[in-house]
């Protein structure tokens, strides 16, 4: 491991000041991803600013929604009574991720900022535009069975690995950010980026900006929700494809729907057109199939991930069936 400095921040502004001034500095919270990346030499920050003691771990009800502090632990959020009552989809997605040990360390902000698990990103002997811009993409012509079917570019076909973020993008969450220029709010769907020509940037956070909280507006999706994660082991594995589904059903007619795919793109993949295709339709498998067809428009496979073109719609249909029956 490279030598690095470690400082502990007591106030958010102090943490932001350090990281904004020093491009080699990084925030560290649970460290479940960053420490691994440092051990392997994929990331080599010169300075770590420990934000664990900042008062950003609260989960609170507001007049029109839930506010979850960026430092709330994944396990705390998943087991929180308010979250389970108001946003059960989020709890399902969180519990599908990682292992209990990791969920006990990982924070909400850190979960959003975890890096791709593309093996070319991790292998220092391989080219990777995300790790080292300009070196090329090893996955494009390499082993790409875990990779994107939506929104990829010629510089990067990696996927975002988070489960939690798939639920948050479906639930119209907002990200609260503090930075050197003050505070700002960002729709969750605008937080993560597509690779384009700058795959080294996973999100739209600017230098020194710190996620302080996530807000989720109250909604009617408290019953018919499901998070379907398809993976190669029953636990402790990243998704091949996942689907977050929230339905508002009245008299077997779908009044509203929120849908998103995970592990199919460089960002959690909201399915707005498929949602619209469901509105006013009966909650039947035929409607779900039609929505899944809409969801798959524009999908493009690479050499080893063509299975996702079938797996993704089937996963969505399965999730919709489970959610509607809940």
């Amino acid at each position: 491991m490279n030598q690095f400095q470690y400082v502990r921040a007591s106030k958010p502004q102090a943490a932001i000041d350090v990281v904004a001034k020093d491009p080699t500095a990084k925030f560290i919270a649970g460290g479940t991803n960053l420490v691994d990346l440092m051990k392997r030499g994929v990331m080599t920050p010169q300075k770590l600013v420990d934000i664990n003691r900042l008062p950003l771990a609260k989960i609170e009800s507001q007049h029109n929604g839930l506010r979850i502090g960026a430092l709330a632990l994944n396990s705390t959020v998943a087991n929180d009574a308010q979250v389970r009552a108001k946003q059960p989809l989020l709890a399902l997605a969180l519990n599908a991720g990682a292992s209990p040990q990791l969920r006990n360390m990982a924070t909400v902000g850190g979960n959003m900022l975890q890096r791709t698990r593309c093996s070319y990103f991790y292998d220092l002997a391989m080219p990777c535009n995300k790790r080292e811009p300009g070196t090329g993409c090893g996955a494009l012509e390499g082993i790409n069975r875990m990779h994107a079917i939506f929104g990829a570019s010629s510089t990067c076909i990696a996927v975002h690995p988070s489960d939690m973020s798939v639920a948050l993008v479906a639930l119209d969450a907002t990200v609260l950010i503090s930075g050197p220029k003050g505070e700002r709010r960002l729709a969750f769907g605008d937080f993560h980026r597509l690779p384009g020509d700058t795959p080294e940037r996973d999100s739209n956070l600017e230098a020194g900006e710190l996620i302080t909280a996530v807000e989720i507006p109250d909604n009617a999706f408290t019953k018919h929700v499901h998070y379907q994660k398809v993976r190669e082991r029953a636990s402790y594995a990243f998704a091949l494809v996942s689907a977050a589904v929230a339905l508002d059903i009245e008299n077997n007619t779908i009044k509203a729907a929120r849908l998103a795919f995970g592990s199919v793109a460089h960002k959690p993949w909201r399915l707005t057109a498929a949602e619209q295709a469901l509105v006013g339709q009966p909650a039947t498998e035929a409607s779900f199939r039609r929505a899944a067809e809409v969801a798959m428009q524009g999908a493009k496979a690479f050499k080893h991930n063509a299975y996702k073109l079938k797996l993704a719609p089937n996963t969505l249909v399965q999730a919709l069936k489970t959610a509607s029956a809940a």
């Binding site: 491991m1 490279n2 030499g41 220092l124 002997a125």
Partner: protein, 500 residues
């Protein structure tokens, strides 16, 4: 003696159970020696070619680094030679990788440098600072693409009676002219052992001609012979300690490049050196079940008597070492086919050498043969178990001699009763349980009951206790417990008074 058996076959707590569940059992990476140094291997990033330059300056200057060893400065190892007829070693031609011997790269992640430092972390950091340049050559790692260049193993060329040689009884490929026949291809990919315990070794030159290894190995004597030979030492000057093995499944039956590298490194710094592979390195340099392509052709009479079997196999090996295994042995002895052909070939790829993996070649071959039996039974519309019974053989049809014992019919019956075989439908996919298709299947596996001699010393102490000693290791099945049971029954002494 039999009637006095009390402990053999009986229930007894494992003698090392307490140590294992309390963390007291020491595995190869857990030995600490005064002055210990730590080694980390740097692997090649190409699969074939030559190292044209290797920059070790930054690594040498890094804190705590004691030595950086490459092919440019490695001490001469007296005996990088093929291993002999040791039964614990694969019957190979060529030999294990001669680590740091020259500039050639023969497989991806081949060790090209060893960094030795005073702590593991410092060694790992310095290892990342090493930069190699290569003259890359086109590699071939695809077995099916190189199937046309597959060759008869050298041992079969030298000896037509070798089990790896082509075998023929009756007519060659007689199934081809039959009317009821099947022909199917079967492929097994590379399979990695991935035991919980990563391979690790501590090498300690206790004197210039005396070497002690705390090593993960399934055969202490084989490892001792290998390193005595490698360093031209009398065998009694090499001591191998491997009390416990945390899973191996075959991949600690051979001496691997990291072991040679650790011994070289310990020689250079003249201190004990510990080297543990990373999980990634477990996939590139300590063996795996070889990718194997097989084709089985079979014909039978309408009443289910096999008339001919042809079984071809191409197994993967490396370019520097011929690894062979008994993929086709079961086919030659299992059923009474009057016409039978087996052909075993190897394809040398730009990969590290494979090794036996639990139920080694026998399992690979049984998968193809028994799948083909099912295909044939399906074609004949015959119950697969009945089909096997109609071709049952009461003697070894390869060697034409009776079995010592064979209880396969009884085994069939017991299995059929236990799983409710009688409920099986002849048509596949006919039984459902909810969303799931339910299938009844069967297959036969065989493995030779090999026997060898071993030496054990027993010491009777004045207090009535017995100490047993043997150069062995416990790979998990409970060697210490079994030896204690044998001694207890043989000597009539309570197991609590016996230490193995």
């Amino acid at each position: 003696m039999k009637t006095q058996d009390k402990h053999i076959g009986g229930s007894m707590s494992r003698v090392d159970g307490y140590l294992k569940v309390t963390g007291g059992a020491r595995y190869s990476a857990e030995y600490e020696l005064p002055g210990m140094t730590y080694g980390v291997l740097v692997g090649s990033t190409i699969a074939k070619g030559r190292i044209t330059s290797i920059d070790t300056k930054a690594a040498e200057r890094a804190p705590g680094v004691l030595a950086v060893i490459t092919h440019l400065n490695s001490p001469k190892v007296p005996g990088f030679k093929p291993t002999g007829k040791d039964p614990s070693q694969p019957q190979t031609v060529g030999g294990p990788l001669k680590v740091f011997h020259d500039e050639k790269v023969l497989f991806n992640d081949q060790p090209i440098a060893l960094v030795v430092a005073d702590t593991f972390e410092r060694a790992r950091h310095a290892a990342r600072l090493i930069k190699a340049q290569y003259a890359k050559e086109t590699h071939q790692t695809d077995l099916e693409a190189s199937a046309t260049q597959a060759f008869l193993p050298t041992q079969a060329k030298k000896n037509p009676k070798s089990p790896m040689a082509d075998y023929q009884r009756g007519q060659a490929d007689a199934y081809k002219s039959a009317s009821l026949k099947i022909e199917q291809e079967y492929v097994i990919p590379n399979e990695m052992h991935s035991p919980m315990e990563m391979q690790s070794i501590t090498a300690h030159w206790e004197a210039p001609d005396r070497l002690t290894l705390y090593d993960k190995t399934q055969g202490t004597m084989g490892t001792r012979r290998d390193f005595a030979k490698e360093w031209n030492l009398p065998e009694e000057n090499v001591k191998v300690i491997a009390t416990f093995v945390g899973g191996a499944f075959g991949n600690a039956l051979h001496s691997w490049p990291h072991e040679s590298a650790a011994v070289i490194g310990a020689k250079v710094v003249n201190r004990p050196l510990k080297l543990m592979l990373t999980r990634e390195q477990m996939f590139t340099m300590v063996g795996y079940r070889p990718y194997t392509w097989q084709k089985v052709g079979m014909s039978a009479t309408p009443d289910g008597k096999i008339t001919a079997i042809s079984h071809d196999s191409i197994g993967q090996t490396s370019t520097y070492e011929e690894f062979t295994e008994s993929t086709l042995a079961q086919t030659r002895m299992m059923y009474t086919s009057p016409n039978l052909t087996t052909r075993y070939r190897l394809a040398a790829l730009d990969v590290s050498t494979p090794i036996w993996m639990r139920g080694p070649g026998e399992a690979t071959g049984a998968f193809a043969l028994e799948s083909a039996m099912d295909e044939m039974a399906h074609l004949l519309k015959l119950d697969p178990l009945e089909f096997r019974l109609r071709n049952y053989t009461d003697q070894d049809p390869e060697k034409n001699r009776p079995w010592s014992t064979k209880f396969l019919k009884e085994c069939y019956q017991l299995g059929a009763d236990r799983i409710g075989w009688k409920n099986r439908k002849l048509e596949p996919g006919a039984v459902r349980e909810g969303d799931w298709l339910l299938g009844y299947g069967m297959g036969v596996g065989t493995f030779g009951a090999h026997r060898g001699s071993a030496h054990v010393s027993a010491q009777l102490l004045p207090n009535g206790h017995v100490v047993l000693q043997c150069a062995t290791t416990d790979i998990g099945p409970g060697t210490g417990t079994a030896m204690t049971q044998i001694a207890a029954d043989t000597l009539g002494i309570d197991p609590s008074h016996i230490t193995f």
